[in-house]
């Protein structure tokens, strides 16, 4: 015979449909999102991993100042690798975006066609799918620069540009203003000076592990330095354009799963609290069943069923939605940030375990512990409705000077402390999500305005110094070249001010595991743009640098040269107010001396107006507001919509938790509410007694949690920025943000109050008179 108690499980769910429905919605929303995310993530990570073989992605690349000859190629290939030409040219499009154009690749870093077809004619081009999306370009459209015009024939994804980093040293990629494209063999007709001589390579024998890969790279740099004028070297493991998307996808997975488990734990405790309340309500029945011979485990099993059924149905529904609707939505989130190749949805067993099995186990364990503890009393205690474990616990004395209603409310609060504890944890978690959701846009906005305010000048021109200037083997020739170069890069622009720029790398240490670029500026005396009266050996660092590496005046920092072992020490004289870049400023003479560049050397101009009289050939890059705000633009593009989603989700969690737990409080006190109604209290007065107690706690929790969470989020954000991201975004708290959070919390609670009031109104007066179940 089946246990007849099972017949009441579905009835129980039906009778308390409000409770189960809101939990169901919250669980389905969470599980659908996480399941969809994991399925999309798993499928895309698989596609990404397989793309290395499928598209024959390079093991690394280097850029030479000049085209290398056959002999040099041969000498390099002796190292145990095969070289492939991967030349590119960069053009400024009509809308000022930069497009890096390659010849369509046949052997290495092959291209995935997402839409349309590959270019065949000279005036045809296939551009990156995401760059096209971000710039509203489609197949059939035309794009042009000052010398060319192309018709877009296809949208593609370049396997070595899953993330659109224009420069591997950049803090953030820029899919809005930078894109990649391929043209046909015929279409790749750029002048020599327009070409970048990039060579991609594949090791003949793959390195066994990362250490071997790292050591091989070091050895290869030496080989390259001996053979060619090396401009840039990027091994695959350090190539952000290739690895960033893969690492981000893996990192997101962990965070999203933890997020789900926190929600499940909170909901499990909510079920625990409501289950405990049901046991109180049904104590006489439970006592009778126990007296009749029902075992404790049979009753635990019985009361465990509703939360487990709801969890299971939610998980199944969530997974169905995850595999159908949410998968595409989540994949879209990645496609909105990364230029990934196509993927095929694969069954993800791990996602099923993480979104169904583990939540079920968490729900089972927590509820089992709560119910087992609650049902551990003897049958007689249940029959007598005497469920207090600690009988000696004395009633808290309250001063008679307090008004009776105040004492009443304090008693309600004391009686429901366990509910309020779960409520506190829930509000803490919901507010934490809200802080993330709200702080992020304000952080980005502040960063952008801060960059604008603290810009040294409107344009920084970094000159492209010919490689033969530094040829130690041909000193005389180098000097002649240098003189010619300096002659060519002189400007008539009166706003222009020379500086020396040099790039060094940080040495990974306790604070940061990444090696990142620090720009060293040599600045002229009485500079118009740097408002510092430099003395000899003065070294000023930017506030961003000081904040990220916790540096102060008087500290000594050590930096190293990229791909070399030279190290340089700098003793900090002061800090300048630039929250955006990691830079060092020193007198130009000191800089030139330190890097052995010659007294009259300079490598760029600060200017408030555009410099038009220097040949573009000599201008390596221009740092303007667009370049400086790249990080914030991209973050806003990639994360903005997620942050909005987080805000809605936080409010949903907040609503569900406050609604459920305040409902329990009213149900628990139904008899007392009924009694005070009989005594003549009006509904509004009764509501003030019971709702106000919860209101006080909710408002108190909101007030307590906001500053704690802001403090916590600040620590978390700074740790992430310090340890795993290049560059720095200063933490900024909009002064209105705590008020906004408070207002959102209170507004959400106001909706709950309406439900609470309706519930109190519905409590019948005869409950107090009936002494039956």
């Amino acid at each position: 015979m089946k246990n007849p108690l099972n017949k009441r499980i579905l009835r129980e769910i039906k009778e308390d449909i409000g409770k189960y429905l809101v939990i169901f919605i919250l669980l389905v929303a969470s599980i659908a999102f996480v399941s969809g995310f994991l399925v999309a993530d798993g499928s895309m990570v698989k596609a990404y991993d397989e793309s290395f073989e499928k598209y024959n992605i390079e093991d690394g690349n280097f850029t030479s100042k000049n085209k290398i000859n056959r002999a040099q190629k041969k000498n390099i290939e002796v190292f145990g690798l095969t070289l492939y030409d991967n030349f590119f040219a960069e053009v400024k499009l009509n809308n000022n975006d930069t497009l890096r154009i390659f010849k369509n690749r046949k052997e290495i870093d092959k291209v995935c066609l997402m839409k349309g077809e590959f270019p065949k004619k000279a005036d045809e081009i296939a551009i990156d799918r995401m760059f096209a999306d971000n710039n509203n370009l489609k197949v059939g459209d035309e794009i042009w620069d000052s010398h060319h015009k192309w018709k877009i024939t296809g949208l593609v994804s370049l396997s070595d540009y899953s993330c659109l980093f224009s420069d591997n040293n950049d803090t953030m990629f820029d899919s809005l203003a930078f894109g990649v494209a391929v043209v046909s063999e015929e279409g790749f007709d750029f002048k020599e000076e327009e070409l970048n001589y990039r060579y991609s390579f594949i090791y003949n024998e793959k390195p066994k592990d990362e250490t071997e890969e790292y050591n091989r790279s070091k050895d290869l740099i030496e080989v390259l330095n001996n053979e060619i004028a090396l401009k840039d070297f990027i091994p695959r493991y350090a190539n952000q354009a290739i690895i960033y998307a893969g690492e981000d996808m893996s990192g997101d997975k962990q965070a999203i799963v933890v997020f789900l488990y926190i929600i499940i734990v909170i909901i499990a405790f909510v079920f625990g609290v409501t289950g405990a309340n049901t046991i109180v309500k049904e104590s006489a029945v439970i006592g009778t069943l126990r007296a009749m011979g029902y075992e404790k485990k049979e009753l635990i099993k019985h009361y465990l069923m509703p939360p487990l059924i709801v969890t299971l149905i939610s998980a199944i529904t969530g997974n169905i939605l995850g595999y159908s609707l949410m998968k595409d939505y989540c994949a879209g989130m990645y496609y909105g940030s990364y230029s990934l190749t196509t993927f095929v949805t694969i069954w993800n067993g791990e996602a099923f375990v993480m979104t169904t099995v583990i939540p079920f186990i968490i729900m089972l364990l927590i509820n089992y512990l709560v119910l087992s503890n609650k049902l551990s009393l003897k049958p007689l205690n249940f029959i007598r409705r005497d469920l207090r474990k600690n009988k000696k616990k004395k009633t808290m004395k309250l001063s008679h000077k307090l008004p009776v209603f105040t004492r009443f409310r304090i008693r309600v609060i004391i009686q429901n402390l366990s509910n309020y504890l779960v409520l506190f944890v829930g509000i803490f978690f919901a507010n934490m999500i809200l802080v993330y959701g709200l702080i992020f846009p304000s952080l980005i906005n502040h960063y952008q305005s801060n960059v604008k305010e603290n810009m040294l000048c409107n344009y920084q021109y970094i000159l492209e110094v010919p490689s033969d200037v530094f040829d130690k083997n041909h000193k005389l020739e180098s000097m002649v070249n240098l003189l010619m170069y300096f002659n060519e890069v002189e400007t008539e622009n009166e706003d222009a001010e020379k500086f020396t720029a040099y790039s060094l790398k940080t040495i990974p240490g306790k604070l940061s595991s990444v090696e990142e670029n620090v720009a060293i500026y040599g600045v002229k005396d009485k500079s118009r743009y740097i408002n510092i009266d430099f003395k000899e050996n003065d070294v000023y660092i930017t506030k961003a640098y000081a904040d990220k590496y916790l540096l102060k005046t008087g500290d000594t920092i050590q930096l190293k040269e990229a791909y070399k072992n030279n190290k340089y020490d700098f003793k900090i004289t002061g800090i300048i107010n630039d929250e955006a870049t990691l830079s060092i400023y020193m007198p130009i003479k000191d800089a030139n001396k330190m890097f052995d560049l010659g007294d009259s050397y300079f490598s760029g101009y600060f200017s408030d107006t555009k410099i038009t009289d220097i040949d573009e050939e000599y201008i390596g890059s221009v740092i303007d507001i667009t370049a400086l705000t790249k990080i914030s633009r991209q973050l806003d593009k990639s994360m903005g919509s997620i942050m909005n989603l987080l805000n809605y989700f936080a409010m949903l969690i907040f609503f569900v938790l406050v609604y459920l737990l305040s409902k329990v409080i009213i149900e628990k006190n139904a008899q007392s509410i009924s009694m005070v109604k009989i005594l003549g209290f009006r509904d509004l007065e009764v509501s003030r007694l019971y709702i106000l107690a919860t209101s006080i706690m909710v408002v108190l929790f909101i007030i307590i949690t906001i500053p704690v969470e802001i403090w916590l989020v600040k620590i978390i954000v700074e740790v992430i920025l310090r340890t795993s991201i290049s560059g720095w975004i200063a933490f900024y708290l909009d002064p209105f943000l705590p008020l906004e959070m408070f207002a959102l919390g209170v507004a959400t609670y106001a909706i709950v109050v309406i439900f609470e009031y309706i519930k109190i109104r519905k409590v019948p007066k005869d409950i107090a008179l009936k002494n039956v179940e």
Partner: protein, 232 residues
């Protein structure tokens, strides 16, 4: 002897609030006997019933059913003991509110390997027409009949009734007592009933009068009358 209690003692509280509820109670009840425990409030009758039912422990003394001692039984064994031998009826019916009459009775049947036929029992209880109703659609008497049905459907050796008519009016009380009498006659269960209604002693086989935790009288009722003939 079917049910035997020897020197049962029970007290509650410490120090000044220490109360001795049962003082050296010894009692024997035969198989199929209808035993009434009578006494005023605080006499210890409900405590004694709870100890017999294994839902409360005696401080000292011995209880045995069919020669099987239950003094040293652990919680799990006590549960099995109740499952196997006992049926319980309380003053408050304690029915499961969202189960029908039939289902409430089946909750009892589930505990037994050889339960009574539920349809027949519903007829005996006079609830056959109401079997699909839920408890709050029933009168107090019908609810109590349902709780009796739930207790006896597993055909327990002993039916323990704690003030089963305490919440009912005169005529309904008589109906319930008649039902208990019928059950006793039909199924030959041993019945131990706690009541403070003196009239009920007249339908019992054995009457045990308790006062201040002691048995003041314990006798076999030679002039037993039918439940319907009771007057109070």
């Amino acid at each position: 002897m079917f049910l035997e209690l020897k020197n049962i003692k029970k007290s509650f509280g410490d120090g000044d609030s220490h109360v001795e509820v049962l003082k050296d109670i010894s009692l024997q009840v035969q198989k199929g006997e209808f035993c009434v425990l009578l006494g005023p409030s605080g006499s210890g009758k409900s405590t004694l019933l709870n100890i017999i039912g294994g839902i409360d422990n005696a401080d000292s003394g011995e209880i045995s059913i069919m020669g099987e001692s239950m003094s040293n039984l652990k919680e799990k064994q006590l549960t099995n003991y109740r499952r196997k031998h006992l049926g319980y009826v309380f003053q408050m019916y304690n029915l499961i509110p969202n189960l029908t009459v039939r289902e409430n009775i089946e909750v009892g049947a589930y505990l037994s390997d050889k339960p009574l036929n539920v349809d027949e029992l519903l007829k005996v209880l006079g609830l056959y027409e109401h079997q699909e109703k839920i408890p709050n659609q029933l009168s107090g008497g019908q609810q109590q009949r349902c709780s009796i049905g739930r207790a006896i459907v597993k055909n327990p050796d002993i039916l323990l009734c704690d003030e089963p008519t305490g919440a009912l009016d005169y005529s309904t009380s008589k109906e319930i007592l008649k039902l208990i009498e019928t059950v006793n006659n039909t199924y030959n269960n041993t019945i131990v009933m706690v009541t403070h209604n003196d009239a009920i002693k007249n339908m019992a086989d054995r009457v045990v009068l308790l006062r201040d935790g002691k048995i003041r009288k314990n006798y076999l009722n030679e002039e037993k009358i039918a439940a319907m003939d009771l007057e109070w």
